[in-house]
């Protein structure tokens, strides 16, 4: 009974945090002399107004599910991985290169293989901060941020040096048809990746709720000295957790390349890796929570573009709302105080 109550209050706090963030957003629009109603209705229409708009929302939701899971999985072991952006770039790059070089393989082998390659590239990138954290204590927030810069520079270096398609645009050639994920609705760029994402969410949920390893990782996150006492190597669990986390971010990059871009392009991300932080915080680091939080931020991303086009409201408002949501969700004490009044 108590447990159930806590579950509801978590959801309640998240909803209040969202409402507060939107209210402050509205205030900001109003103070800038713009029309709040027009802004928010354009935002809503852009995200859900038509079937096509909704497919675009889902398309933007997919990478956010993965980057959100990446951050949430890090948190489970007590680590804050904000290197999702860099891990995603590595994932996208390796996915594209693997697909191009193994184009002779049949689709049924190629698709899982390049997905795996993308995920592992992300893992490799997140292994470094994880290893450094356990061996030297270097704070993962700083190292993952630095790895973002290094990863984005490294992929563009490799692209420009070795893999650029002839022409002025820094991009690879297209990946073969056999490595692309099929579209669900024509011209929508919404692909089967959405099912992969939901499947991975379910897997993660089972992993943390039902498996021994998942339980061990969470014990480390809650109390690493207690975990050590129980014979769990917290160092090992942290590195492993960091690698699973990077794998998810890598999958974000892989599915973008296989489903949307069909090639690697420099600077392709509008900050999916960073939005993943807001997604995980709002989703309370629970896989199913991440799924719904990703849908919200996917909708904001998509609707934000419409809002900018039709209501002339800069879409950076969405970034403001992200920041506010993170701050408010992080402070249940504040919300409790507000409710008591």
């Amino acid at each position: 009974m108590l447990k159930r109550l806590k579950k509801y209050s978590d959801l309640g706090y998240s909803l209040i945090a969202i409402i507060l963030a939107f209210a402050i957003g509205a205030l900001l629009i109003y103070l800038s002399g713009l029309n709040v109603g027009k802004a928010y209705s354009a935002l809503f229409n852009g995200a859900f107004g038509s079937l096509f708009n909704f497919t675009q929302t889902l398309m933007n939701t997919i990478p956010l599910i993965f980057t959100g899971l990446a951050v949430a999985i890090g948190f489970k072991s007590g680590l804050f991985n904000i290197g999702g952006e860099g891990q995603m770039y590595l994932g996208a790059f390796v996915t594209a290169i693997t697909a191009i070089y193994l184009s002779f393989l049949p689709s049924i082998i190629l698709i899982p293989l390049v997905l795996l390659a993308g995920g592992l590239a992300g893992s490799a990138w997140s292994f470094i901060p994880g290893y450094l954290k356990t061996r030297t204590g270097a704070h993962e927030v700083v190292t993952t941020i630095m790895m973002n810069y290094i990863g984005i520079l490294a992929t563009s270096f490799l692209l420009l040096r070795y893999f650029q398609e002839t022409g002025p645009i820094p991009q690879t050639v297209f990946i073969p048809e056999s490595a692309r994920l099929p579209e669900l609705i024509e011209f929508s760029r919404l692909t089967w990746a959405i099912f992969i994402a939901v499947f991975v969410v379910i897997l993660c949920d089972i992993f943390y709720k039902r498996t021994n390893l998942g339980y061990k990782i969470q014990t480390v996150g809650k109390n690493s000295s207690a975990a050590e006492y129980a014979g769990i190597s917290s160092d090992k669990m942290m590195v492993l957790s960091m690698m699973i986390s990077g794998f998810m971010a890598g999958l974000a990059g892989a599915t973008i390349v296989m489903g949307v871009l069909h090639r690697f392009i420099t600077n392709f991300s509008p900050g999916y890796g960073f939005t993943g932080i807001a997604v995980a915080v709002l989703g309370r680091n629970k896989p199913v929570g991440v799924l719904f939080a990703a849908l919200l931020f996917g909708a904001l991303q998509t609707g934000g573009i419409t809002m900018q086009l039709f209501a002339k409201i800069p879409m950076d408002l969405m970034v403001v709302i992200q920041g506010l949501v993170i701050l408010f969700v992080a402070t249940p004490v504040l919300i409790k105080k507000l409710l008591r009044k």
Partner: protein, 312 residues
């Protein structure tokens, strides 16, 4: 190879590094002040960005860059206060609140830039800080080149480094401040007004970041651009750790980062056979190595990141 050595040991590289180090030094000392009272401050990045924006806004509105600097300090204080509210009063996880603050300020500054100047990339040009030449010092051969002619914030930085060290390590106030980060319960028992000192310290941290941000925009380029801080706040936090939570150490570490950055920029101009992307990576790689190296032998304030409820 000799070309590279020429760049490394060139006086211009050393003097460029002083300029590049300014925002890092201010923010790193801001980091020292907040971590010494037990608050992990990842919000340095957002505070720098907010400072850079406010400085340009102040100069844009009044035409006077010094008012820009004052506005940056004021906004820094407000941001520091908000961060203190969230981490101390509302007991938010420090790391999550810091990252939230950074995202909030990235969004707010980019948004306001478009509302005020109608551009998402950069603001208009405003009057920047002019250089002040110190008569006697500027005529000494090497020292003159290094310290003789800078804008006011560079000189202020040196003052802040020394004064912060004195305050932290040579005054009763500094001792009280440090006890809070090490053992808040002991501080409480001794009757130290924990919250008051923590708030003061975090607001001061914001003011310092405001100064660092002002230097980024008014001391360097005379405009504001989107995400202008570009990770410097995180580097500053690493410099604070590498510097052993000490203003002098923070200065040394920041100067090391800045020197690498200066080197990186000058090497790009040399047309060496090394790709620019690789050269650009160097400061980031160095930050990681330094942090990994520093953490092995140094120890953070014992109560860092923990919430402590005061007895009154």
């Amino acid at each position: 190879m000799s070309e590279i050595l020429d760049v490394i040991f060139n006086i211009n590289t050393f003097s460029a590094a002083i300029r590049i180090s300014v925002p890092l030094v201010f923010a790193a000392i801001g980091g020292v002040f907040s971590e010494r009272v037990g608050v992990i401050n990842l919000g340095l990045e957002g505070m720098l960005l907010g400072g850079a924006f406010s400085a340009v806004l102040g100069s844009y509105l009044t035409g006077n860059p010094y008012i820009g600097v004052l506005l940056a300090m004021f906004m820094g204080a407000i941001i520091g206060f908000i961060f203190a509210l969230f981490t101390l009063k509302f007991e938010a996880n420090h790391v999550v609140a810091g990252v939230g603050l950074n995202i909030l300020l990235l969004g707010t500054t980019t948004w306001l830039m478009q509302i005020i100047w109608g551009s998402r990339g950069t603001s208009v040009n405003v009057t920047g800080l002019s250089e002040i030449t110190i008569p006697l010092i500027s005529s000494i051969p090497i020292i003159g080149k290094l310290f003789g002619s800078h804008n006011i914030l560079v000189y202020l930085m040196f003052v802040v480094v020394i004064l912060s060290w004195i305050v932290l390590f040579r005054t009763p106030f500094g001792l009280r401040l440090r006890v809070i980060g090490e053992h808040p319960k002991a501080a409480d028992t001794l009757g130290i007004k924990i919250r008051k000192i923590q708030y003061t310290s975090l607001i001061f941290s914001g003011v310092l970041c405001g100064l660092g941000g002002a230097y980024l925009s008014l001391g360097h380029l005379n405009w504001f651009s989107m995400n202008m801080s570009a990770g410097r706040g995180y580097m500053a936090l690493a410099a604070n750790i590498f510097g052993g939570w000490n203003p002098l150490g923070a200065f040394g570490a920041s100067y090391l980062f800045a020197f690498t950055d200066a080197l990186q920029m000058r090497m790009q101009a040399l047309n060496l056979n090394v790709p620019n992307e690789i050269i650009q990576m160097v400061p980031y790689i160095l930050t990681i190595l330094v942090l990994a190296g520093a953490m092995i032998r140094s120890r953070p304030p014992a109560a860092l990141g923990k919430h402590y409820k005061t007895s009154r």
